[in-house]
């Protein structure tokens, strides 16, 4: 059985994916990463397909597509998706917003946390078709231009990460934790951040960053 926290390959695109939208915010590094991961993806595909295909099938059915509208980081998007796609895969593969990470892909690790209509959710367990009309905020939508969100800055100040894979999810969950009013103490933060796992064990820094950003927000 898969263990929570082990990075998963993207679900194999056995369906038509709407063409990638070019984003003016894209820099050359992201373009490079996308090109690189396409090559890796191709070499991994047979394994990923095998994994996903285990188990009995009733019949080979045709993929079903549907249209959804999303407002992602303030920008309206109209997308043709496969009904099977998760919100996570739509963000990463259709919109190339790869800041949101796929960890366990089963709701256990929190790496894929985004805000939907202002509430934190795990985007891996969100069937994208259910989110027609929703407003989504990802880690890419948090900063104000080059000015980091206070919690992003606090994560740097307190070294709230090591490898960084869980960090986007931690920060999205942390901003919601503060908004909900559940960041009054380290103890409270630990309880209300329990849906975000950090394999490196950067919890002391993560907790300190959230407590400090919450205190700053109360003062401002």
């Amino acid at each position: 059985m898969r263990q929570p926290g082990s990075p998963q390959p993207p679900d194999p695109p056995r369906h038509p994916v709407s063409p990638a939208v070019s984003d003016p915010q894209d820099d050359s590094r992201r373009t490079f990463l996308v090109a690189g991961s396409a090559t890796v993806g191709a070499s991994l595909l047979p394994i990923a397909t095998l994994t996903a295909d285990t188990g009995p099938r009733q019949e080979e059915a045709e993929p079903v597509s549907t249209e959804i509208r999303l407002t992602v980081n303030g920008r309206e998007r109209q997308l043709a998706i496969d009904t099977r796609q998760s919100l996570l895969d739509v963000l990463r593969e259709n919109l190339l917003l790869t800041g949101t990470k796929k960890g366990c892909n089963q709701g256990a690790c929190g790496a894929c946390t985004v805000h939907a209509n202002g509430r934190r959710i795990v985007s891996c367990l969100a069937a994208a078709a259910l989110y027609d009309g929703a407003s989504i905020t990802t880690i890419e939508g948090l900063s104000n231009g080059d000015e980091l969100h206070p919690l992003q800055a606090a994560f740097i100040d307190h070294e709230g990460f090591q490898c960084g894979y869980c960090t986007a999810g931690q920060i999205m969950s942390g901003t919601a934790c503060i908004q909900e009013g559940h960041a009054g103490s380290a103890r409270e933060v630990k309880y209300w951040m329990s849906g975000n796992i950090c394999r490196c064990g950067a919890y002391p820094g993560i907790t300190a960053a959230i407590v400090e950003a919450a205190a700053q927000e109360r003062q401002s």
Binding site: A61, Q106, G110, A129, S194, G195
Partner: protein, 326 residues
């Protein structure tokens, strides 16, 4: 994942009519969509019920009414739920993670499927996933499995926390289907595995949970949910106890006890309740109630620890209920 059609319903009637012929309802998706990805569940038609207006949370006189599509987080944070039904709020907050509680509906919570590892393992036998294939947990990894209500065909526990609170508080639920609506105790939603563990609940095809109603009583405020697990939060119960006491003049007038993590469904402890009623609260009395809760327990090689843990969890939760300010 098997390709599936999706239809959106915006009323109960539309949902039921769309679900005829074998479609499945999808609300938060935290169980069903996950299991579809694993191809443990293979529906080819889905009815998205999120636009059906069933998300209300309100007091109707002395009764708490929770719409089936209310989210776990909203019920747990509701001021009247916290004040009048602390057991409901506490059990909800002890389940899942903040993200999942924002997504998961109350109806879906009751219908969530088991967390026995073999249920998701296609290369292992599991009578729930594939009837008559056998039960790998009987001789396999069964530390998390049930000791009450088991059969030779399945020993998986029901994973919900709030269902345990509902069973303790005599909550009832209303469901609506092609043949109209009916109301019955939440406890009667869950089937014992017997020889057909793939049948987990008593809903008929296309029936939709509409609401859950929890009655108040003199016991509802002196109530606690104690969940014992491998880590402090975001983990399923090894053993959990939901208890509610009505104490007057230092005598226990009424007692409700239900346990999770030990039964193949949320398990009401009526024998232990009878030991308490009419008695003065004491450590010795609570220990006897704890011991009585294990009557009929049938542990396996990996979960024998649950029997003494169950007795102690019931005893400790009763002590915690006595510490609630009157």
């Amino acid at each position: 994942m098997i390709p599936f059609q999706i239809q959106r319903a915006s009323s109960v009637e539309q949902a039921i009519s769309s679900a005829r012929g074998g479609a499945r309802y999808l609300a938060g998706g935290t169980t069903l969509y996950d299991l579809m990805r694993e191809e443990v569940e293979q529906p080819t038609r889905i009815v998205d019920i999120n636009a059906v207006p069933l998300a209300q949370i309100r007091l109707d006189g002395d009764t708490l009414v929770i719409g089936a599509l209310a989210r776990m987080a909203d019920v747990a944070a509701h001021p009247e739920v916290r004040q009048v039904f602390p057991l409901v709020a506490e059990s909800l907050l002890e389940g899942a993670s903040p993200q999942l509680r924002n997504m998961a509906s109350m109806g879906g919570n009751l219908l969530q499927r088991v967390r026995c590892p073999y249920f998701r393992m296609h290369d292992a036998a599991c009578n729930k996933r594939l009837p008559n294939s056998g039960c790998s947990a009987l001789e396999g990894l069964n530390a998390g499995c049930a000791v009450l209500g088991t059969s030779e065909h399945c020993i998986a526990t029901h994973p919900s926390d709030v269902a345990v609170a509902f069973v303790a508080l005599d909550a009832v639920m209303t469901v609506q289907g092609p043949r109209g609506h009916r109301t019955f105790p939440v406890e009667e939603l869950f089937r014992l595995p017997g020889s057909s563990p793939h049948l987990e609940h008593t809903l008929e095809p296309a029936e939709l949970i509409v609401e859950i109603r929890v009655p108040t009583g003199p016991h509802t405020k002196r109530a606690r949910y104690l969940k014992v697990r491998d880590r402090a939060s975001y983990e399923f119960a090894l053993v959990a106890a939901a208890v509610a006491l009505h104490v007057e003049g230092n005598v226990i007038r009424d007692a409700r006890i239900a346990c999770g993590g030990v039964g193949t469904r949320p398990w009401r402890m009526r024998e232990a309740e009878q030991i308490l009623i009419g008695q003065r609260p004491s450590t010795e009395l609570f220990a006897r109630a704890g011991d009585a809760s294990t009557t009929g327990a049938r542990p396996r090689h990996g979960n024998a620890y649950k029997v003494p843990l169950l007795a102690r969890t019931v005893k400790r939760s009763l002590e915690m209920a006595m510490e609630v300010p009157a």
